[in-house]
């Protein structure tokens, strides 16, 4: 596996020597070693908690203390030709948890997800506000979107396998780094094992990936995302094109992944959110209405809107 380097500014960039700075005591956080620490070594402040001056709207964090925040979204608006798709959303996503984003069609949940790894930029959308990954604004001028997407991976609605072999699909991201054949092979095998696909495809690594079933293709896409060692995995309705059995397998996988990854999943299927998510955010008409533990959102929502949606009165 390649080492995780959480520095989002390209090496050799002038301001990029130490962008990880503790927001409280200002001590530079060395990115030495394989993984950057999640806490400041000097004062113990979680690196991600956001600088104190950032104005945060009230529902940014879930009600209970969820530990370290890996992705801090503050006052985020995304506009298409000055028309807001999402407005003033603040959401702090804790590390090592599954966070679901639910809401009716067109509520902006996919836009919110795609703003977390700068995919929104591909559609010439305008982004206001901040999204911080371990304290670094991913929209910062020096930040390289390619590095952002290495740390914050994504899985799409439909399986997006490339028309190459099973092996090469998983190896795709590693090949970009020019990793040695040995490293690539180890990473591919371990990613395939992680997604439970290994036993199904180990004899068929050279077969075209398009010959796999839809469920297998989707898990292959997850394996491909995991192969470049992200910390966060964004999933945009990952089971919407799958049958119930394949859906079940992907949900099981999501549950297993949270020991090593932070998962953010967009789903239109409330039962799915209830099954897999620790935390749930409910969005409506481009705004974040409620964000809390899944249990609270489903059993005792604070907002009337949430309750109406959960109980199926609209959506």
């Amino acid at each position: 596996m390649n080492e995780r380097n959480d520095n989002l500014v390209p090496r050799g960039s002038s301001a990029g020597s130490s962008p990880l700075v503790c927001p409280k005591c200002g001590a530079p956080v060395a990115a030495a070693g394989t993984e950057a620490p999640l806490k400041c070594g000097r004062c113990g402040t979680p690196l991600s908690a956001g600088s104190p001056r950032a104005a945060t709207s009230p529902i940014a964090a879930a009600s209970e203390d969820r530990g370290e925040i890996i992705l801090a979204i503050d006052r985020l608006s995304v506009l298409a030709r000055n028309k807001p798709l999402i407005s003033d959303v603040s959401l702090h996503i804790p590390v090592g948890k599954v966070t679901a984003i639910i809401g009716p069609s067109g509520c902006g949940k996919t836009t919110l997800l795609r703003s977390m790894n700068r995919m929104v930029e591909l559609h010439h959308l305008q982004v206001k506000g901040t999204v911080r990954y371990l304290g670094q604004d991913i929209y910062g001028a020096q930040v390289n979107p390619v590095l952002v997407r290495r740390r914050i991976g994504m899985v799409f609605q439909r399986p997006t396998v490339f028309p190459t072999s099973v092996f090469e699909n998983v190896a795709f991201g590693l090949r970009l780094d020019g990793e040695s054949e040995d490293t690539v092979e180890k990473a591919v095998v371990s990613s395939l094992r992680r997604t439970g696909l290994w036993d199904e495809v180990k004899e068929a690594l050279d077969r075209p990936a398009l010959t796999l079933s839809g469920g297998q293709q989707q898990r292959l896409c997850i394996a491909r995302a995991l192969a470049v060692s992200p910390r966060v995995l964004l999933m945009d309705e990952p089971t919407s094109s799958l049958d119930p059995v394949a859906t079940q397998r992907v949900e099981d996988l999501i549950f297993e992944l949270k020991s090593d990854y932070t998962v953010v999943i967009v789903t239109h299927n409330m039962q799915q959110a209830a099954r897999v998510a620790d935390l749930t955010a409910f969005m409506y008409q481009g705004r974040l209405v409620e964000f809390d533990t899944t249990k609270r959102v489903f059993e005792q929502p604070k907002e009337k809107l949430t309750e109406n949606y959960i109980t199926g009165r609209f959506g």
């Binding site: 799409f156 609605q157 490339f162 795709f172 970009l176």
Partner: protein, 308 residues
């Protein structure tokens, strides 16, 4: 409404193709497809075309030489144009570039011909060919003396042809690159690929069949172009040109340039008709192969959706 248009109208292209072949076969009388017809012999008796004889080999060499070379140039340029308008340029300049490229397709070939004859030819003879000879003279085809008849020759024809087929190949390549599912492009970016890496590792492989089809259709176009080529190629029937500066002839430009004599000399007339039959067969084969690629493309596109 319009249902009556169905089957009878569908037959029209077939009828046209059949009629063209039949009329050409009748006109040629099928009398000359012997060994000498397919050979490379070249005997020209001035003032007596009926006593002269030409094997089609000479012309096929010129045809495939000019068409292949211009195709190599056009493929490289079209690919660059298509990639930049689909991937790199913002929407507005991208559309503008496409529009201008398409516009080039609408210029009549005789205009390209006269441009090549008047503007390009002197530049080739005085500047480009001498410098090519200096720099690349050690490469086969780039050394050796200039043609006796002046700057008109293979290289000039190749350049004019390249410019003429670029609009077609660019438009087709653009479509091929656009038809790559957006999901796949984003999936590539989501694993941390740069835009260029996505072009190289996702877009080009996925669009491969469409791109091949574009290249082949461009080849078909280049093979059949007559007017502009006839104006700049010089038109001497040398069996094997010693270098790229030498004048050659293509099947199509020979037919075009000899038509006036053919009205007087019946044997030449038959020869030209037979040449055009050969050209027709070559063009049909190239197009069939191109269509085969397009079909594969469609099949891949439908499989890409996945599903159980």
């Amino acid at each position: 409404m319009g249902a009556w248009l169905g089957s009878p109208v569908a037959l029209i292209p077939l009828l046209i193709l059949g009629a063209v072949v039949a009329v050409l076969l009748i006109a040629s009388g099928l009398k000359d497809f012997g060994l000498t017809f397919w050979g490379f012999q070249y005997r020209f008796v001035p003032g007596e075309p009926d006593a002269s004889s030409w094997g089609i080999g000479v012309f096929l060499v010129g045809t495939f030489l000019t068409a292949s070379l211009s195709l190599v140039l056009a493929t490289a340029l079209s690919l660059a144009l298509a990639i930049s308008s689909v991937v790199y340029l913002p929407p507005l300049p991208g559309r503008l570039l496409s529009m201008v490229t398409n516009l080039l397709a609408g210029i009549p070939s005789v205009v390209y011909g006269i441009w090549g004859f008047v503007v390009l030819a002197p530049y080739f003879g005085l500047t480009l060919e001498p410098s090519l000879r200096d720099v690349l003279g050690w490469l086969p085809g780039f050394g050796g003396p200039a043609s006796d008849i002046g700057p008109w020759g293979t290289l000039l024809a190749v350049f004019v042809l390249t410019i003429m087929i670029i609009p077609l190949t660019t438009a087709l390549m653009r479509e091929a690159l656009r038809s790559v599912p957006r999901d796949l492009v984003e999936a590539g970016l989501a694993v941390g690929a740069t835009r260029w890496e996505v072009v190289r590792r996702v877009r080009l492989p996925v669009a491969r069949n469409g791109l091949w089809s574009a290249v082949l259709l461009g080849f078909g176009r280049a093979l059949g172009e007559s007017v502009a080529v006839a104006m700049v190629i010089g038109g001497t029937s040398i069996a094997l040109p010693p270098n790229l500066y030498a004048s050659t002839t293509t099947v199509a430009s020979f037919i075009f340039s000899q038509l006036d004599s053919a009205l007087i000399y019946p044997n030449l007339f038959v020869l030209l008709v037979e040449f055009s039959l050969v050209l027709l067969v070559v063009a049909v084969v190239v197009n069939l192969v191109a269509q085969r690629f397009t079909r594969v493309e469609l099949a891949t596109a439908t499989t890409l959706g996945g599903g159980e």
